[in-house]
Amino acid sequence: MTLSLLLQHIVNALSLGSLYALIAIGYTMVYGILRLINFAHGDVFMLGAYVAFYGITLVSLPWWAALLIAIVLTAMFGIGLERVAYKPLRDSPRISIMISAIGASFLLESLGVLIFGGRPKGVPVPEVLSRVIRIGPVSTVVISLIIPLFTFGLLAVLVYIVNRTKTGMAMRAVSTDIEASRLMAVDVNRIVSFTFGIGSLLAAFGGIMWSFKYPQLNPLMGVMPGLKCFIAAVIGGIGSIGGAVLGGFLLGGIEIMIVAFLPTLSGYRDAFAFVLLIVVLLVKPTGLLGKRQTEKV
């Protein structure tokens, strides 16, 4: 393999990995605070992409305005989803809330088919974002450079919020013990809503970026990315924001390099992601950066 090809593969891996990382952060945020794997995350991702799409095509908003509005609407939707599907079950066994999450996921997918239609739609990608950039032998598109910037920017903002602000302190308190935080006058509902808002905002942003990079929408588009980013979050240590970013980049890198070095196995690239999940769960269940949790009795 020549150097220029290797460089191209690395650029591809970084651009795919940063997208995974972006979506994995949302997963890990919600899990970190509520110990809930939000299976509907991938569908919120889909919803965000569709809202932005209709903003651009139906209302003919400029793309950045459509993006902002879609993110805000989807974040509000995420908060609403938590109120309806998860909050009533907060004191039930963990398995009930997980089943509710799976139900919410199917509901959103079916609603997507009903409302948006089952046929895929092509996304009008803004000219600025789809421009091709060539640096020597390596080429990429503007959007692939923007995504990693946002991923790291959002990582920094979130780490700051969680570790340095009062809301962040409350979030950490809720994550340790909901009852105790309530006794300490932490407004648990507000914190949970805030967490879901941020998680859905990240999902929507990820979905829109995804649809600008791979300009195709369908109501099931969130399923695979949702699973992949769940794997990324687990690899990195679910609950750890830095871990999610690391896991996203690792997964993206591994997927690209499998095709690059073992082209005959390229049809099995999804399978590799799941094998990786199993291996991580067997060998290091807490993930790379995860903390060991002592089981509360």
Partner: protein
């Protein structure tokens, strides 16, 4: 008192129900429409359904013996998924008890239904599924289109004779029998035409539903082929071509009939300009009297140009209707025999004569994309 009224109402409702289900004789003939209405192949499925529905509007009845039956379409969504396809087919033959099945877009989906229609002895007519294995060894599956050994040859011929290509790279949708089969026939034919066993530089794989092809395409860059043959589902193919352009690959892309969906252009936009693929029918060259009827009615109803597979949907419906009329009976085996005996039937997409495998032997059409429109290039006889 309230209870009594409630009971009386319930009894009345039950009686009505029994009456409604009463007479056992069927008043309608049921055509099962077995198509992907959601999922990765939904765009293709929708095009075929358009054709079937149009035919149903123009010819809503069928004469069996001296009785006129209304034809009812029973839609079953196979969700672009092989497992769901088997379930949908089972439902059509068991629960809906359809007399004939039409579809499906996508050879893998049709093949999933193969054993089910065979066991139930219900005849099925494939519309645009081109993999030879759909009908091979299954006397209950037929189709109104040509098969991939021919289509692969057509495109290999085009690559070698029209483009002067000597080296090719194949990109296959490895989970799709259509794509794998068509790629194989192209490879065989391409090697034969170039007389060079090493003329295929690489065969790269991807999965249905994949969105990132940068790794495979970076490999393609290494090989520097003259042409890339990438038969596969339309959205994935459009994304492949788009990403290839972004990586600076300016090699002609060739494909198969699945590319002819509006979504292919919608997703690919400028990137898919100039790609060349084979398909079944071009509106620029109507073949039969039925073609004219089909084109006029379709344009009137939808106010746009029909896709080739829409014409095949129209044809599948007509062939089934014609066979039932000739059979003069709703007996499953009589219907099967009548379909198998279809000869010189004037369909919208050409004359249909089914051979011993149940396949139609027809000419192929080569199309390209010009200014965001599918454009006719040439007709190739078998």
């Amino acid at each position: 008192m309230k209870k009594a009224v409630g009971f009386a109402l319930l009894a009345a409702a039950l009686a009505a129900l029994v009456l409604a289900c009463g007479p056992a004789a069927p008043k309608t003939v049921k055509f099962g429409v077995f198509e992907p209405l959601t999922g990765a192949n939904a765009g293709g499925g929708a095009l075929e359904v358009e054709g079937i529905k149009l035919a149903n509007e123009l010819y809503p009845t069928v004469k069996v013996g001296d009785k006129e039956y209304k034809i009812e379409l029973v839609l079953a969504d196979n969700k672009s998924d092989k497992v769901e396809a088997a379930n949908a087919a089972q439902r059509l033959v068991d629960k809906d008890k359809v007399n004939v099945v039409l579809g499906s877009w996508g050879s893998s989906l049709s093949m999933a239904a193969g054993p089910i229609v065979k066991n139930a002895k219900v005849s099925a007519i494939g519309l645009s599924c081109t993999n030879p294995l759909v009908t091979k060894g299954n006397e209950y599956y037929f189709r109104v289109c040509f098969i991939d050994p021919f289509q692969g040859t057509v495109m290999a011929n085009y690559a070698v004779k029209n483009l002067g290509a000597k080296k090719a790279v194949i990109i296959r949708e490895v989970s799709n029998d259509y794509s794998v089969g068509l790629a194989k026939f192209f490879v065989d034919s391409f090697k034969q035409l170039t007389g060079d066993e090493n003329s295929i530089l690489a065969e790269l794989n991807y999965n249905t539903g994949d969105t990132d092809f940068s790794a495979q395409l970076t490999e393609v860059k290494k090989f520097k082929p003259d042409v890339i043959f990438a038969p596969g589902n339309y959205t994935e193919s459009a994304l492949i071509i788009k990403q290839a352009k972004e990586l600076g690959i300016n090699v002609p892309f060739l494909g198969g009939d699945t590319w002819e969906t509006p979504e292919f252009i919608d997703v690919g936009k400028q990137a898919v300009e100039g790609v060349v693929f084979s398909t079944f029918f071009a509106t620029e060259v109507p073949i039969t009297e039925t073609s004219k009827v089909f084109l006029d009615e379709y344009r009137k109803k939808y106010n746009k140009e029909p896709a080739a597979v829409t014409a095949l949907g129209f044809d599948g419906y007509l062939v089934a209707r014609d066979a039932i009329q000739r059979a003069g009976s709703l007996d499953k085996d009589k219907i099967r025999e009548a379909i198998a005996a279809t000869k010189d039937f004037p369909g919208a997409a050409g004359m249909i004569t089914l051979n011993e495998d149940g396949d139609a032997v027809k000419s192929a059409v080569i199309k390209t994309i010009k200014n965001g429109q599918f454009t006719y290039m040439a007709t190739v006889e078998p």
